[in-house]
Symmetry: C2
Subunit: 349 residues, 2 copies
Amino acid sequence: MSAPSDKALVPFVSVEQMMGLIHHVGLEPMMVEIAQAIEEDFRRWELFDKTPRVPSHSPQGVIELMPTSDGEVYGFKYVNGHPSNTREGLQTVTAFGLLADVRTGYPVLLSEMTMLTALRTAAMSALAAKYLAPEGAKVMAVIGNGAQAEFQCLAFKAICGIDEVRLWDLDPAATAKCAANLVGRGLEVIPCQTAEQAIEGADILTTVTADKRYATILTDNMVGAGVHINAIGGDCPGKTELSPGILRRSDIFVEYPEQTRIEGEIQQLDEDHPVTELWRVMSGEVPGRRDARQITLFDSVGFAIEDFSALRVVRRRIRGTDFFTPLDMLADPDDPRDLFGMLMRAQSP
Amino acid sequence: MSAPSDKALVPFVSVEQMMGLIHHVGLEPMMVEIAQAIEEDFRRWELFDKTPRVPSHSPQGVIELMPTSDGEVYGFKYVNGHPSNTREGLQTVTAFGLLADVRTGYPVLLSEMTMLTALRTAAMSALAAKYLAPEGAKVMAVIGNGAQAEFQCLAFKAICGIDEVRLWDLDPAATAKCAANLVGRGLEVIPCQTAEQAIEGADILTTVTADKRYATILTDNMVGAGVHINAIGGDCPGKTELSPGILRRSDIFVEYPEQTRIEGEIQQLDEDHPVTELWRVMSGEVPGRRDARQITLFDSVGFAIEDFSALRVVRRRIRGTDFFTPLDMLADPDDPRDLFGMLMRAQSP
């Protein structure tokens, strides 16, 4: 049997290869590069084929497909969200993604995205804060010290110039884990006993907890004028982190309103509550932060274009490296009409 | 670095492994088994989460995601349709698919589906004909002798007892290829000079052409009383094969009306033209063929549940074999909250 042709082989980036690639590029430079790719793609927002993610809900969680296309390249991500998984030692969120050539429909990249999503989520948060955080912001409170926390801290350091992080979690073990992981990475790290202590004096408040329910991580009296709130954890129906009072005092920025109104913090507000699309800020069409007393809120849920941008970076960065394996994923008969002949020839070695 | 745990490894079936598996099981027994799985799943139709496929259209073709779930297992297929691909020596249709555990969201199978889709499409056609074809049908005309033709012929032989096939294609080379591939497989194979010659006296008419446009492969006067029409080729908006006159004389059976009205032959009819869902026939709720003079028409477009059924067979059949490779697709840190620690430990070998 002849070997599959190049066209039939799809570069696959495994978890191990992704981790190798991240160390090869450097974690912070890689997040900076992903943020740049997201910014480029948000600036050409109107080009993209956009659709709310396609969910399949179950009592335990959700499995979602997030497709998009810029007319030349098609991408989608498979991602699950199962909060009870941690009880069995499994990840709450796992993901993989794919890019394909729109002209032929042939896949051109298959990649793990559990790790990559952690980078792109942090890169997106820091990119939004570049436009929304108060000038000269140096201190960030991080409420929720789970799997995403360290990535947030380092992305905000690399992209926004944060130099101090205050950590708090309901579970002190999570805070200890996060603090230990951040040792020697150029950040002042302060584990805190209470959420109030973490927030006191912080310029940026990041909320990144994982419970699938309405929870109030921040109450109204905890949030003073002038801060930027980076709300990551409220990202599916029935899961929010902020009290409605905070939302009403904030100017709210979102990725894709059609999706955020279903999944984000603003599911607690009226359907016509005004929000600003981040792509309009990045395009220079509307301002980001306008004054020092304003409370800005990035109601982050994660959008398909961000995954597309991150996959673009991976596709570019694996060229000429060993951080991928060609995968025999596409049948490629010599005569495209002769799939049957290809199958029959495979029988005789 | 420690090896990924079992949970993080997804069994992947490559094209070569799929072909090996098909020969291991036998092509006809495998199509019989897939038809049985489809029949089982159609009989529990109401259990499934159903949604029309999620398309991304471009001038050259379409890329689609087809998700479904039975509440325990989730599945989706990625499939493209690019008719102009054959001009570059590429497949019109390529596909891959995935099954995941609904309870955890973790993928449990990734498989090529270009080859598998050929089998499941033929298995579905023959399964429908088991309920719809005239009693004692022995002769099938096959109009369109491309990549799907041989699979149709052998599925109808194995599942419906067809013993003679009449082949016709606009391109005589396609007919010659198909006839040569079918030599020695227990079918009387008759290459024909005209569509009329192929159809004369046939009990079943299979139309399986690939042009992406409205074409009239069968005109009204070509179809006599009592035949079963198996219409495969009309499967996206703007692509049909039968004249509306035939449709009006036929009792029409479909997979999922919401999708067929957009993509099937019946896009040529009024939106409320009566059709029968095949799952109701298979459940015994409504009759299939009622009398010997009736023209039955299976307006086939392919539905997500059929792919799900085919993937179920693959998942069951690869157990204990070498027809798969474990793929390191899911990050699996020892502590699920410590994705960052997993990344950092990957740096030091």
